[in-house]
């Protein structure tokens, strides 16, 4: 299985823990880079020396929120090629439409049950690890 560099943009500490624990539990080869909000993520991405393969993005965040971050990302000639998957609790149709309009690679709802979460993440990462991505 291809090892992915994953940028997780998430302000909730436990959510970060959830992803990390899921990956370690499933013994997946992927690397997680954490950013607590959009600004932090942009700072990291601006360096452009270690760009992630995919981005998992939460929408409701303080400071720069998910959609604002997405807009900036998609306006960047280099960064716009990074597949960005939304990982959120909100099934607000308006948000969903807006995200697809700007350009996302997926929209995954965080389920209530942890087991369901593990299942969803497993499938999501499995999917992306078999995808051909742009060489950055």
């Amino acid at each position: 299985m291809k090892s992915l560099n994953i940028l997780l943009i998430e302000d909730d500490m436990i959510e970060v823990m959830k992803l990390n624990r899921t990956i370690s539990k499933l013994e997946l080869p992927h690397t997680i880079v954490e950013a607590n909000n959009g600004e932090e993520a942009l700072q990291f991405l601006q360096k452009k020396d270690e760009l992630p393969d995919i981005i998992l993005l939460d929408l409701n965040m303080p400071k720069l929120n998910g959609i604002e971050f997405l807009s900036i990302l998609k306006n960047d000639d280099v960064l716009k090629y990074i597949p960005t998957i939304i990982l959120t609790t909100s099934n607000n149709q308006q948000d969903l439409l807006e995200c697809y309009k700007i350009g996302i690679a997926g929209y995954v709802l965080k389920p209530l049950k942890y087991e369901d979460y593990v299942t969803k993440v497993e499938r999501l990462l499995a999917y992306w690890s078999i995808n051909e991505l742009k060489q950055l």
Binding site: I14, E15, K18, N92, L112, K113, Y114
Partner: protein, 658 residues
């Protein structure tokens, strides 16, 4: 011979000689006298002769130049002599024609002519005798004749006559009489009462109408010659103010000047109009003419017209609508009070000015012009404009314009009725603004609901993860009670999650604008039957095909989903039946969803639609479902109610507008 003798002889001779001389002298004188006399005689004869000649020619001239026809005839009627005028009259060829006058007499008149001739012979003359003749040119003529007999030595020898042609005069006279008769009839039957009095106030002429107006029973003819003072006096009581009536007549007669259009009110309600015209011949007052006209109808009509005019003027003046009349060149002709109030101008500031320059219309002139062209085409309709008042403020007016025509149907201008809708417009604008704000705040609320739900749901996820981790990390270390408790925590989390979702959904219904489209409810229910979890012992039947309605597809789906899942959830029977039906009404469809489930106690029938009123504590029931249902139905302008019996089942009824 004596001397003496001689002397005597001598003296005798001398005397003789002297005597002879004297005689000679006398003779001489006589002869001279005679001569003188003869001379004078001759002279006088000459004079006489010339005089005779003169008279003769004069007579001849007179005879020939008499203007009236003149004829001399013998006693048998043969013409002896006549002048040119007579030739013309009798239609002869020339003055020399001789014929018998009796041949010309009209057969009708032969008798009277014969009698008159006898009379002429006896009396010697005849005057003013009229007779009809037929001239030699076969014209019938009426003649007037004065004649006399010519005598010679006391014996009648001829007759002479002067004749006049009175045919035309007679015709004129007849015409005059006829026209007099006509005039008399006219006066008699005139629609005005006429009373002609002479200078002594004796009645000369009156007519039927006068008698009618004054209630006089005698005929107009019978009244002739009566004293008008009495007539008037006896009839004064017919008038509302009899004394004034008499006094006025007296005053008018005193001044003897024309008085026209006096109005008199009568007791019986009639109104008479009276004219007085004095009649003068030269400068001599000969009487006067009264005419009385019944103007009651006219006056009443005029009064009615005036009252009506007054009414409409007052309506126009006081109505709450502004009114402006323009001529064809946009010049203001008339405005009413309300218009002044709307425009802020005084009347003087507006009359005669150009409407567009004084009270200009703001904004889209193009569309207004278009309207105006429509108006010129003769269409009358209303349109909305914004006008600038004197104070510079903007007024919204609804104008109803119409062309103004004269009696010949030509356009002479237009009339615009202005309704000041500024207040209404302000309200409307305010409403629009409020609606916008409402939409905005609804959107914000929706946004807020999503954030809240997200913020509430996120911790639930964290707790679930953490609990799971505890479970995982302490596998085999936890006792049975702790495991059960942890499972209870997980159930509670699920319930909490459901609650948050429902609240979010409830607040979402109606927050977003409804999207109207045609929704096939049959398809909707069929789709739901596939999506929803329906246990094997429960059957859903659509009794009558459901209609297509106008509404929000998602919300209508939610509606049926709630009804069906409720019916499924609360069914305790071995075989569950859910029947969906519809009845078409003129204005709406009435739907029913009937189940044979646990039923709802009557006392809860009202409460079930209230939010958070779950009747049954269940993991999958939050008490919000029916509230959402009610909200959706209300949005579609329908109503919802329940029929239910505890233990046997429930029927939900609801209506949706067509």
């Amino acid at each position: 011979m004596s001397q003496e003798k001689i002397d005597i002889l001598e003296r005798a001779l001398a005397r003789e000689k002297a005597a002879r001389k004297q005689a000679e002298k006398i003779l001489e004188n006589k002869a001279a006298e005679l001569y003188q006399a003869k001379q004078e005689l001759e002279q006088s004869y000459l004079e006489l002769e010339s005089l005779l000649n003169k008279t003769d020619s004069q007579l001849q001239g007179v005879f020939e130049n008499i203007v009236d026809p003149y004829v001399i005839m013998d006693l048998f009627g043969n013409v002896l002599k006549m002048n040119d005028a007579a030739v013309d009259l009798l239609g002869c060829d020339s003055i020399k024609s001789y014929f018998n006058l009796m041949d010309l007499v009209h057969p009708e008149d032969l008798q009277s002519v014969a009698e008159s001739f006898q009379k002429l012979l006896v009396k010697g003359s005849i005057t003013d005798f009229n007779l009809k003749i037929i001239t030699q040119k076969k014209e019938e003529k009426l003649l007037h004749l004065n004649g006399s007999i010519i005598y010679d030595n006391g014996q009648p020898v001829a007759a002479q006559g002067i004749v006049r042609d009175i045919t035309k005069a007679k015709e004129a006279e007849i015409q005059l009489i006829e026209s007099e008769n006509r005039l008399a009839t006219l006066i008699l039957n005139l629609d005005s009462g006429v009373l002609l009095e002479d200078e002594n106030r004796k009645l000369v002429l009156t007519n039927k109408k006068f008698c009618e107006l004054f209630n006089i029973e005698e005929t107009p003819k019978a009244l002739k010659g009566q004293d008008c003072t009495t007539v008037v006096e006896t009839h004064k009581i017919l008038f509302k103010n009899p004394e004034l009536f008499i006094a006025q007549i007296a005053s008018i007669l005193k001044h003897k000047q024309e008085v026209l259009g006096d109005e008199l009110e009568m007791r019986n309600g009639k109104i008479l109009e009276r004219d007085y015209v004095p009649i003068y011949e030269g400068n001599v007052y000969k009487g006067h003419l009264w005419t009385y006209k019944d103007v009651t109808l006219r006056r009443k009509y005029r009064k009615g017209l005036e009252a009506q005019k007054q009414k409409y003027s007052s309506v126009i003046a006081n109505m709450n609508l502004g009114l402006m009349e323009l001529d064809t060149k946009d010049k203001i002709l008339m405005v009413n009070k309300s218009f002044l109030k709307i425009s802020g101008y005084t009347k003087d500031e507006l009359i005669g000015k150009s409407a567009q320059s004084v009270f200009p219309v703001e904004g889209d002139l193009e569309s207004i012009r278009e309207d105006n062209t429509e108006r010129i085409k003769g269409k009358s309709h209303s349109y909305e404009v914004r006008c600038k008042t004197k104070m510079g403020t903007i007024k919204h007016c609804l104008i109803s314009g119409a062309l103004n025509y004269n009696l010949n149907g030509e356009v002479i201008g237009s009339i615009g009725i202005y309704l000041d809708i500024t207040a209404l417009k302000t309200l409307q604008l305010q409403k629009e603004k409020l609606l916008q704000e409402l939409e905005k705040s609804n959107n914000e609320l929706q946004e807020y609901a999503h954030i809240v739900s997200h913020d509430l749901k996120s911790p639930l996820r964290s707790i679930d993860a953490l609990v799971n981790w505890i479970k995982e990390d302490n596998k085999d270390k936890l006792d049975e009670v702790s495991v059960t408790n942890i499972e209870l925590i997980e159930d509670t989390l699920e319930k909490m999650e459901q609650l948050i979702s429902d609240v979010l959904m409830y607040s979402s219904v109606g927050a977003k604008a409804m999207e109207e489209e045609t929704v096939d409810l049959n398809a909707t229910v069929e789709e739901l039957k596939k999506i929803l979890y329906i246990p094997a012992h429960i059957s859903i039947t659509i009794l009558n095909p459901l209609p297509k309605v106008q509404g929000d597809k998602t919300k209508l789906k939610q509606l049926f989903q709630n009804f069906i899942s409720n019916a499924v959830k609360f069914n305790d029977k071995a075989e569950g039946h859910i029947n969906i039906d519809v009845i078409e009404q003129p204005e709406y469809y009435q739907f029913s969803v009937k189940d044979n489930g646990i039923g709802i106690d009557k006392k809860y029938h009202d409460k079930v639609f209230k939010v958070f009123h779950a009747l049954n504590k269940r993991k999958d029931s939050t008490g919000i479902g029916l509230s959402i249902v009610k909200k959706i139905i209300n949005l579609h302008k329908g109503t919802v109610w329940i029929e239910s019996e505890l233990g046997t089942g429930t029927t939900f009824y609801f209506t949706l507008k067509k």
